[in-house]
Structures are given as structure tokens and as C-alpha cells.
């Protein structure tokens, strides 16, 4: 009972930190409250967005082309498997140690982490597109890039989006620790127990979790929008 009460207290305190400003543990400055927390969140979202954009720009075309041609399966799938084994923080820290700190550097490091899911999912999605549809498209005289754009991409879109969602969540999650390399993300709150107190730490965790959930939901929405209506109907009748 006491344990539960303590836990409850901690979360109440954390929510208080999120909603109201208060004095820092170390004294002096005012911390907490939405206005205070927002810059941290914004930095994290920014670097994540840049990273995701970069990863998309690199991995998406490669995945589309390789998938369309049906070549390089070993590489595309192997890259995805290998990517899972890489410890994210080591990559980020190494990058920082080699190239220095700054938003761009960190974004590049994070972008590298986003490459495997996007590349592999895009490749696999393209391979799984109904061959007869592609055949028909080529038969009508579409050029390769038209086939990709008008037929394969829309049909592959749902699975590709799933890969983008995975990449986005990975990137956003790892961006938390960018605070270790000088970027002011929400990781600052989590590691700044001396300044923000226990409330601040838990508050940081809550905000990160909520934002991650929001990103997931938002991208799920995009996935739904991007799924062609015909495919949605197909799925509905199949599972019925």
C-alpha cells in the first residue's frame, strides 16, 4: 500500500513538473512548466525530423530501385538484420567524437540508424507487389520510373510506411541520449536529477513516451491515408 502511494506520489509530482514552473533543486533558476520543457522537446523533434528526412532521402530511392529490379536481396535484407545488432549510442558517440557536436552531426548519426528499417522494408514491400499488376503496367507501355511511381509505390506504400514508422521511433528514442553529446534534448531532464529532482526525471520520461506515442499515431494515420482504397477493401474482405 505504501509502495503504491509512493508511486502515485511520484507520478503526481512528475505531472506537476510538466504543468507548473518551480524552483530548481539547486536553487535560483525556475524550471518546469510547458514553456521550459518545450525547447528540449523541440530540439529533439527537430534533430529527429532532419535525421528521418536524410534517411528517407538515401534509403528510399535505393530500396525502390533495388526492389523494382529484384536485385541485391542479400544486401537489402542483410543490411536490415545487421542494423538491428548495432548499438545506437555507440554510433552517436563515435560520430560525435570523430566529427564533433552540433545538430547536423548528431542528425547524421541518427540518420544512419534509420537507414536499415527503411531500406529493408522498402525493398521487401516492392518485391511483394503483385507481379501481374507490374506486368500489366509494363505491357501498356509505362516506362520504368512510371511503373515505380504509379503502380509499385502505391501498392507497396503500406509496408514502406511501416518501415518509416519503425525508423522514426528508433531515431526519436535515440535522440534522447543526444544530450550526452551536447544537444539539449529531453535527455537533459532525465539525466539532470540534481537540477530537476526526481519529479523532473520522471516528467522527462513521461513527455518522451507521450511524444513517441504521438509520432506513432500520426504516422499510423499517414499510413492509413497512403494505403490505396482498393487495398483497404481487399484486406477487409479477406479477413471477413
Amino acid at each position: 500500500m505504501i509502495l503504491l502511494a509512493n508511486v502515485f506520489d511520484s507520478f503526481v509530482g512528475a505531472f506537476d513538473f510538466i504543468l507548473h514552473s518551480r524552483e530548481a533543486v539547486t536553487g535560483g533558476a525556475q524550471v518546469g512548466g510547458p514553456a521550459y520543457i518545450w525547447p528540449f522537446a523541440r530540439t529533439q523533434l527537430e534533430v529527429s525530423a532532419v535525421a528521418l528526412g536524410g534517411a528517407l532521402a538515401v534509403a528510399l530511392p535505393i530500396g525502390l530501385v533495388l526492389g523494382h529490379l529484384g536485385k541485391g536481396e542479400y544486401f537489402a535484407v542483410g543490411f536490415g538484420n545487421a542494423g538491428r545488432a548495432v548499438p545506437e549510442i555507440a554510433v552517436v558517440f563515435l560520430f560525435a567524437a570523430l566529427a564533433g557536436i552540433g545538430l547536423v552531426n548528431v542528425a547524421v548519426a541518427l540518420g544512419i540508424l534509420g537507414l536499415p528499417p527503411i531500406l529493408t522494408n522498402t525493398f521487401v514491400a516492392m518485391r511483394q507487389v503483385d507481379r501481374t499488376a507490374v506486368d500489366a503496367a509494363e505491357g501498356v507501355g509505362m516506362r520504368p520510373w512510371e511503373v515505380i511511381l504509379r503502380v509499385e509505390l502505391p501498392l507497396a506504400a503500406p509496408t514502406i510506411m511501416a518501415g518509416i514508422r519503425t525508423a522514426a521511433i528508433n531515431i526519436f528514442a535515440t535522440a534522447t541520449i543526444a544530450s550526452f553529446v551536447g544537444l539539449s534534448t529531453l535527455g537533459d531532464l532525465i539525466t539532470g536529477r540534481n537540477v530537476y529532482g526526481d519529479d523532473g526525471v520522471v516528467a522527462g520520461a513521461i513527455v518522451i513516451a507521450l511524444l513517441a506515442a504521438a509520432i506513432e499515431v500520426a504516422l499510423a494515420g499517414v499510413q492509413w491515408l497512403v494505403t490505396p482504397r482498393g487495398v483497404k477493401l481487399q484486406r477487409a474482405t479477406r479477413s471477413a
Binding site: 548499438p87 555507440a90 558517440f93 560525435a96 557536436i101 535527455g187 532525465i190 522527462g204 520520461a205 513516451a209
Partner: protein, 251 residues
């Protein structure tokens, strides 16, 4: 806040000045000359001398991964076997495991902080939670792919539902289940590098202790990847051992 890492331009002074960004204490502990002082890409001598400082964290890391994966596997398997019989369970369980998977590890560790404090539990709970989704999904798929005539024959010969599950369905679903286990294991090794934030140790600890030192980062990176590959190999070998019939070629 943690001291920032040295930026790109480093003092290559090999004499006795500590490269900016490296903690003073660090420089005082070690020979401030040559490779280490200048924070070269990989200092072999230092690595050789100091390798034993990674041994403890390595095995701790292994411990964390083992507990998390085993716990996650057991829970996910049980849930999947239940869901196979009672299909209504599938959407809520899939939803719950998916939600858990979305919570970033760092956040998860610190959300648990008020409940479990710093230590092994705080690291293991989120790590097992992450394995649930993939193992659960894969097990369901594996069970769905069991040839229906084998099930019909099994029941027709007098197996009970339980006997059918354990003697026929699960063994035949093993390939998919183990595929999920592989993915879960490899991912857990990577994510466990953050376990030090939960106060559980692991290979992330030495990484965090000497943040800017490149040799350190590379050693930790290499050890982590090596562990992932090694465990992956073990799981693959386990699969070949458990499923001898898949290798049998038509005579």
C-alpha cells in the same frame, strides 16, 4: 549536464597536455602521451592494457540480455498459445505489446524508476517488454501455418488438445518462433547498452564513463556487435538442432 565531447579539432600534442574535452581525471589516470592523449581512433596499447575493465560489464550485459529474452520469450509464448485457442485475445494483446514497443527505452527505464528504483529489474522489465511483440506475432504465424491435416490426424488418433499443442503444433511452429527469437535477441543486445541508465550496468557503463575516448567507444561497439552475432549464431544452431526434419532432403 555532462561535459561536452571534444570537438573535431584536437590537440595532437603528444607531450603532456590532455586533449580538450576529456575529463581531467581521465588524463590523470593514464599516460597522457601519444595515442591516448591525442584521442586517436584506436589505441591498441591502451586496449591491450585495459581490456579487463570490460570483462565485468560484458558478462553483466550478457546476464541482462539472457534474463530479458528468456522472460519475454516465456510470457510471449504463453500468451500466443492462449490466443491461438481464444482468438478474441489477439487484438488486445497485439495492441498492448505494440504500445510497449513504442515507448523509448530511456523513457521506459525512468518511468519505472519510482516503482523499482535503480537496478536490474528496471532494466529487465522494459527489455523483456520489447521482445513480446515480435515473439508473440511470430508464434501466432507459426501456429497458423501448421498443416491442418496433421492436426486432424493428431486429434483423430486420440491426442488431447494439450497433447496436440505440445507434440505437434509447437514443434511445427518452431521455425517461425525461433526466427522471432533471433530478432528479439539481437535487438535486446543493442538496446541493453542503455541499461546503465537504469543502474543495471552492462557494456554501456564503461562507454558512459569515458565518453569522448574513441578507443573506448570502439571497444564497446565491437564487443556489443560481437555478442549479438554470437547469440544469433547460438539461436540458429539451436534451431537446426530442434528441427532436424527441415534439413532432410527428399530421398
Amino acid at each position: 549536464m555532462i561535459a561536452p565531447v571534444a570537438n573535431g579539432v584536437l590537440a595532437t600534442d603528444a607531450a603532456n597536455r590532455c586533449a580538450p574535452g576529456l575529463p581531467e581525471s581521465f588524463c590523470h589516470q593514464h599516460e597522457v602521451t601519444g595515442c591516448v592523449g591525442g584521442n586517436g581512433l584506436f589505441c591498441f596499447d591502451w586496449a591491450a592494457d585495459n581490456f579487463d575493465r570490460y570483462v565485468g560489464p560484458f558478462f553483466r550485459h550478457l546476464e541482462i540480455v539472457a534474463i530479458s529474452v528468456v522472460a519475454g520469450f516465456a510470457i510471449a509464448l504463453a500468451l500466443a498459445v492462449l490466443s491461438h485457442r481464444h482468438r478474441a485475445l489477439v487484438p488486445p494483446v497485439l495492441g498492448a505489446t505494440g504500445v510497449l514497443y513504442t515507448i523509448p527505452s530511456v523513457a521506459f527505464f525512468f518511468l519505472l524508476l519510482p516503482i523499482t528504483g535503480f537496478g536490474l529489474a528496471t532494466a529487465v522489465i522494459p527489455l523483456s517488454a520489447y521482445t513480446l511483440q515480435i515473439i508473440y506475432r511470430n508464434t501466432l504465424v507459426g501456429l497458423a501455418n501448421v498443416p491442418p491435416d496433421a492436426k486432424d490426424a493428431g486429434l483423430g488418433m486420440g491426442m488431447s488438445e494439450n497433447q496436440l499443442m505440445w507434440r505437434v503444433e509447437l514443434p511445427l511452429a518452431a521455425p517461425e518462433v525461433i526466427a522471432g527469437l533471433r530478432i528479439a535477441t539481437v535487438s535486446t543486445v543493442a538496446i541493453a547498452t542503455l541499461a546503465f541508465l537504469a543502474g543495471a550496468g552492462g557494456l554501456g557503463q564503461p562507454l558512459y564513463e569515458q565518453l569522448g575516448f574513441k578507443t573506448n567507444i570502439i571497444i564497446v561497439g565491437v564487443l556489443t556487435i560481437a555478442m549479438a552475432l554470437f547469440l544469433d549464431l547460438i539461436v540458429v544452431l539451436a534451431q537446426r538442432f530442434i528441427t532436424p526434419w527441415r534439413r532432410a532432403r527428399p530421398g
